[in-house]
């Protein structure tokens, strides 16, 4: 305590002297001039009043300017007024008068006492002044921090936070602050508009930190050209840097650098906490939104599935009963009407199924359940499903009996193949042939569906599997939603296969090839599990 008490004033005085040397500017001149003026006024008053009061200890009157100067303007003016008071007492009031020398030893003791009292009171007064100053500064800082917190509290994006830091630090420190965004998804610091406004030394340090992902040093720098000090701070969050700040301090001492650094770091800690809060809040908000959308979509799909398809099931079922009723079955006109109802309802059902499939693909993605399957089984199931719609075409299945087993989701592939075959039937003329040929190629089985239809233009070929794409040549002539092949493609890909379209050209037919994985089987089965 004692050491500190002695040390602190010493440091202050030495700093004051240093300042007096280095910063002998207008701000210092005026208080000193005023202090000297007060000393002069005191001298005049003493001169006038002296003979009347017979002042013996005139020197102590000069404590008044010392105290005024110390409380008002600090140490330097106080020293100046103290010295001036000392000189004035010696010169004007202590014999020999009008001589700086002092003859009477009692007066010398007087002056020594004056100097001691002046130093102590100056010291005390100055300390009071410092306290007031510090309190005022603290108040201002608290106010600034309060506003900063308020701004952080309402900040909703990292940009808000950066702006808040910028404003807060520049008002509290009075320094120029340059922010370089960094980190994932952020621009390189060199692209910042501020880049050219910082000196080379700072640019190098910022790049160094950026390149090493926040590992660089944060020590203050001094730019040799201007002699200004710069502070560089990293804004990091969970070990990843989100920004780098360069703060220009100007030509200041080490002490003020430390003080500013402390202030900057306090602000940054608070800002980073806010940034994290925003991040978390943002993530929670997004997750909630996503899950709500997901729930809504699932509910919608579920209800569409039920609400639309249940009546369709009733219509189709009733139609099938109606078709067998003796009165209808024996009347060709009536049974053809029933047939119209049935086929149109089936089409409607297919369209609804396509919409459901499409929404299933885009919402949750398709879950494939892979299992071994016989390729002809898949093709036959598709043909069986479509048999009514293929009545006007000649179907030529070329399915070899010795194809390897494929490992796919057979249900998805059958649905995809149905879409492809249905598409071939829709776009090729009645009476033409649709060929379904399966063959083994390396570790895959290729099922190629070829028609004798209008073929594909180059544009159609590239866009065939796009969602809602419909060839402009057929938009009027052929009904469709543009979903079928997109669904087919998605189902095949989900099952680990590929779908390709090829055409010899316009008017020369189209071939869609489904390529399915047929990994080799384990060899153990023949002896262990075969017919023993």
């Amino acid at each position: 305590m004692l050491a500190k008490a002695i040390h602190a004033p010493a440091a202050q005085w030495s700093r004051a002297l240093e300042l007096a040397r280095s910063k002998w500017d207008a701000a210092q001149v005026a208080p000193i001039a005023v202090s000297l003026l007060i000393v002069a006024v005191v001298t005049v008053l003493l001169f006038v009043a002296g003979p009347l009061l017979d002042l013996d200890h005139a020197a102590f009157a000069y404590l008044i300017p010392v105290i005024i100067a110390a409380t008002r303007w600090g140490v330097t003016p106080a020293i100046v007024s103290g010295l001036a008071g000392l000189a004035a007492s010696a010169f004007f009031f202590y014999p020999p008068i009008y001589d700086i020398r002092v003859a009477n030893p009692a007066h010398i003791a007087d002056l020594i006492l004056f100097v001691v009292v002046a130093v102590v009171t100056g010291q005390l007064a100055n300390r009071v002044r410092e306290h007031v100053k510090a309190a005022r500064q603290r108040e201002e800082e608290t106010k600034a921090l309060y506003f900063f917190s308020r701004r952080l509290a309402v900040a909703s994006s990292p940009d808000d936070i950066h702006a808040a830091i910028q404003d807060h630090l520049s008002t509290t420190t009075g320094c120029r602050i340059v922010l370089f965004a960094a980190g994932a998804g952020q621009a390189h610091p060199e692209t910042s508009p501020q880049w050219s406004r910082v000196p080379n030394t700072v640019q190098r340090a910022v790049l160094d930190i950026f390149d090493r992902g926040g590992e660089g040093r944060e020590a203050p720098l001094i730019d040799r050209e201007t002699g200004a000090s710069w502070l560089i701070r990293i804004l990091s969050q969970r070990k990843s840097i989100v920004g780098i700040k360069a703060i220009e301090l100007g030509r200041v001492s080490q002490q003020s650098v430390d003080a500013i650094r402390q202030r900057v770091d306090t602000a940054l800690v608070e800002a980073m906490a806010t940034l994290e809060r925003i991040d978390v809040a943002h993530a929670i908000g997004e997750a909630r939104l996503r899950s709500e959308a997901e729930t809504l979509r699932e509910a919608l799909i579920g209800s569409v599935s039920h609400e639309l398809r249940t009546p369709l099931a009733s219509i189709l079922g009733s139609t099938s009963v109606l078709a067998q009723a003796p009165g209808v079955a024996q009347d060709a006109r009536l049974s053809s009407l029933v047939d119209v109802i049935r086929s149109e309802t089936e089409r409607l059902n297919n369209d609804i199924q396509n919409l459901l499939d499409a929404s299933r693909i885009s919402s949750a993605g398709v879950q494939a359940h892979l299992a071994w399957a016989e390729p002809p089984d898949i093709a036959n199931a598709a043909l069986a499903r479509l048999h009514r719609r293929l009545e006007e075409h000649h179907i030529d299945p070329r399915l070899a009996g010795d194809l390897p087993l494929v490992r796919v989701d057979a249900v998805l592939i059958e649905q995809a193949l149905s879409q492809i075959i249905d598409n071939a039937a829709k776009y090729s003329p009645p009476g033409s042939t649709i060929t379904i040929a399966a063959r083994a190629v390396d570790a895959t089985v290729e099922i190629a569906v070829s028609d004798e239809g209008p073929g594909l233009t180059a544009d159609e070929q590239t866009r065939l599997f796009e969602r809602f794409y419909r060839g402009p040549r057929h938009q009027v002539a052929v009904k469709g939603s543009g979903l079928g092949l997109w669904i087919a493609h998605a189902f095949i890909v989900a099952s680990g296969g590929q779908l390709e379209a090829a055409s010899e050209g316009v008017g020369r037919g189209t071939t869609l090839t489904v390529r399915l994985p047929a990994p080799p089987l384990a060899q153990a089965d023949a002896s262990e599990n075969g017919d023993a």
């Binding site: 079922g317 099938s320 087993l405 057979a410 249900v411």
Partner: protein
């Protein structure tokens, strides 16, 4: 059909579905009972014996699996499930729980009747005299353990015969992959579905005219196989 009329219990919450099922079954001389909920359906089946149960997979008070499970706990009555597309796992689960077959909505009456008849036929063995199952040109004599096509006997390996036997025991109805694997290979191999695919292929080469266009041993993708008694 034998007399008196067979009683079919329809458990479905959709009144329109019940209406057309009633019409369809009555045209085929069935007696129809209706239930709108699972609870009501189970009570109806308990109060008075029925010959066939048609149950919807989605009921407001109970899911299809629960109804099948509860009916199966005391009754061997044939059960046909009305299912929806894209629920192969659910179908397999219901079949494993003891449902005899399923039809996928929307379905035609003819399809449902074919499944129902197959399930009913299995329920009354010996009704037609000897335990012989016919599927198109194929004849399987389960007592003599012989198989013939158009009267000409064919030779099958023990496993091939066992496979055909299990299918014949459920003739006309679907049999799940898992069930076949368990019956033919034992529990140990129930995961190795490709054995089944290979043996089905071998069997088809012996019993089908065109093994790539099977008419007798048909596939239910993702579910199992069926011996199609009305195929040919």
């Amino acid at each position: 059909m034998r007399s008196p009329a067979l009683i079919v219990l329809v458990i479905d919450d959709e009144v329109q579905i019940r209406r057309f099922l009633r019409a369809g079954f009555e045209l085929e001389a069935f007696t129809v009972q209706e239930a709108a909920t699972g609870t009501e359906g189970i009570r109806a089946a308990t109060l008075k014996p029925v010959d066939l149960v048609i149950v919807d997979l989605e009921l407001p008070d109970m899911d299809g699996a629960e109804i099948v499970e509860r009916l199966r706990s005391w009754s061997k009555v044939p059960i046909i499930v009305l299912s929806v597309r894209s629920s192969e796992e659910e179908k397999v689960r219901l079949l494993e729980l003891g449902a005899d077959d399923y039809v996928v909505k929307p379905f035609g009456m003819a399809e449902l009747l074919a499944r129902a008849r197959a399930a009913l036929r299995r329920q009354v063995p010996g009704q037609q005299g000897d335990p012989v199952v016919r599927a198109g040109p194929l004849t399987i004599d389960l007592a003599a353990r012989t198989v013939s096509i158009d009267g000409r006997p064919i030779g099958l390996s023990p496993k091939e015969y066992r496979l055909l036997q299990v299918l014949a025991q459920h003739a006309g109805n679907v049999v799940t992959h898992l069930h076949l694997l368990r019956e033919v290979w034992g529990n140990a191999h129930s995961d190795d579905a490709h054995y089944l695919r290979i043996f089905v292929r071998k069997l088809r080469q012996k019993i089908e005219k065109d093994p790539t266009q099977p008419r007798i041993l048909t596939t239910e993708l993702g579910v199992g196989y069926r011996l199609s008694v009305d195929g040919g």
